[in-house]
Subunit: 125 residues, 4 copies
C-alpha cells in the first residue's frame, strides 16, 4: 500500500495533493485497475484531514473516470483502462512544458539551464 503524505506548506490544496498522489501511483504502476483504495474515512484519519477533503479528491477522480466508487463497498482504481491515447498524452506533456517554460522564462532562465538542472534533479516528495 502506498503511503500518502501531505505538504502543509506548499499552499497546494490538500485534495489536490491527494489527487496527484493517486494519479502518480497509477502512472507508476503501484496501483492497478481494480485495486481498492483506502476508505475515505481511513485516509482522512491517516492524513488528519476532514472526511470531506478526501471525499472531494476521490470524487474528482471518479468524474474523470480514474476511480470507481461502489457505495457500501469501497473505492477502486478504474477498470476501464483510461485510454490515454497518445495524442492526448502528448498534449498534456506540451501543456505542462509550456507552463514551465513561461515561468522559468519570466525569471530569465534559459532552456539549457533548465535542462541541466532537470538532469541533475531527483524527484523527492
Amino acid at each position: 500500500m502506498i503511503e500518502f503524505r501531505l505538504d502543509h506548506r506548499s499552499g497546494v490544496p490538500y485534495y489536490r495533493q491527494i489527487i496527484d498522489q493517486i494519479r502518480h501511483g497509477i502512472a507508476t504502476g503501484e496501483w492497478k485497475p481494480g485495486d481498492q483504495l483506502p476508505t475515505v474515512r481511513a485516509l482522512a484519519v491517516q492524513l488528519k484531514v476532514n472526511l470531506n477533503t478526501v471525499s472531494k479528491a476521490y470524487k474528482e477522480l471518479e468524474i474523470q473516470k480514474v476511480l470507481e466508487a461502489q457505495q457500501g463497498t469501497g473505492t477502486f482504481i478504474g477498470t476501464i483502462k483510461v485510454e490515454i491515447d497518445e495524442k492526448e498524452r502528448k498534449n498534456k506533456l506540451q501543456a505542462i512544458c509550456k507552463d514551465f517554460l513561461n515561468v522559468a522564462d519570466s525569471y530569465g532562465f534559459k532552456v539549457e539551464e533548465m535542462i541541466d538542472e532537470l538532469s541533475n534533479t531527483k524527484h523527492t516528495e
Copy 2:
C-alpha cells in the same frame, strides 16, 4: 514598449501574470534600469482589469526592489541593479524544476521525455 497580455484560461492570477511579464522584460533586457512603466491606470485599461490588480502587481515588485515608485511621477525599473546573488537564483531554479518534476511525474512522464519536449518547444505566449 512591451506589450502585455493576459491568459484568461491558465488559471494563473492576473496580478501574477503581470509580475511575470515585467520580470521577463527586465530579464531579457527589453527594459533597463530607470525606464518608466505604464501607469497603473493605463495598464489597467489596456488589460481590461481592475486598477487594484495592476496595483497589486506593481506593489509586489516594489517590495522586491525590482521597481521604484516615485510619488506623482510614475513607476520605474529599479536603478539599484537588483543583485540576484547566484545562490538565490540557483535556489529559485531548483524550486521551479522540482515543482515541474512533481507535476509531470504525477502524470507518469519521464525526465527524458520532458527534456525532449523542452528542447523542441519554443516559448510562445
Copy 3:
C-alpha cells in the same frame, strides 16, 4: 432458471438490479406463480454479493406481494396473481417516462430522436 447478472458500472444498487430482474422474469412469463426462486444464499454466492443484499431484494418484493417466503422451504413467486390495477400501472409508466424525458431533455435530446432510438434498440442486459 433465469440467469441473474449484475452491472457493476451502472451505479444502480445491486438490490435494485435483483428486484428488476425478478420483476422482469415474471413480466415475461419466464417465471410463473408458484415457481421457486434460488435461495438467498445461493443467489448471493452466484452474484458474489453479500447475503444482506439479496435478502433486501427478496424482502422488498415480499412486501409488494410479488414473492412469498415460506419458513424453512424457500421463496416462491406469489400465487396471488398480483392484480396490478390498470390505473397504477399507468401511473408507473408515466413516472418512468417523465424521468426519462427529464434526463434526456437536460442533454438537449428531442422526443423524436428518443423515439427513433428506442425503436431501433433491443433490450440487452
Copy 4:
C-alpha cells in the same frame, strides 16, 4: 436569466439537479458561451441551499469543461465550445435509452406502450 428550481421530493441530490438545469440551459441555447452564471452565493440564497452545494455543482461542471470559473470575477459558460462530437452524443443517447428500456422492461412495459406514452407526455418540471 434562467429560473432555477429544486425538487425536494425526487430524491435526486440538489447539486445534481443544479447541474442538470445548467446543462439543459446550455443545450437549449438559453445560455451561450461566455454568459455569466449567478454567483455561487446568489444561487445558494435563491434556492435556499448551502453555498457548498451550489459550489459543488459548479465545480463538477468546471471539471467537465462546461463552465469556467475565474476567482474574484465569477463563473461563466465555457467558451471552449464543448465539442460534443456526434459520435459521443449518439453514445449518450443510447446509454440513456438503454437504461430506460431496462427499467420499463422490468415492469413488463412494451416498447410500443412507452413510445405511445412519450408521444403524449410533455416535459414539466
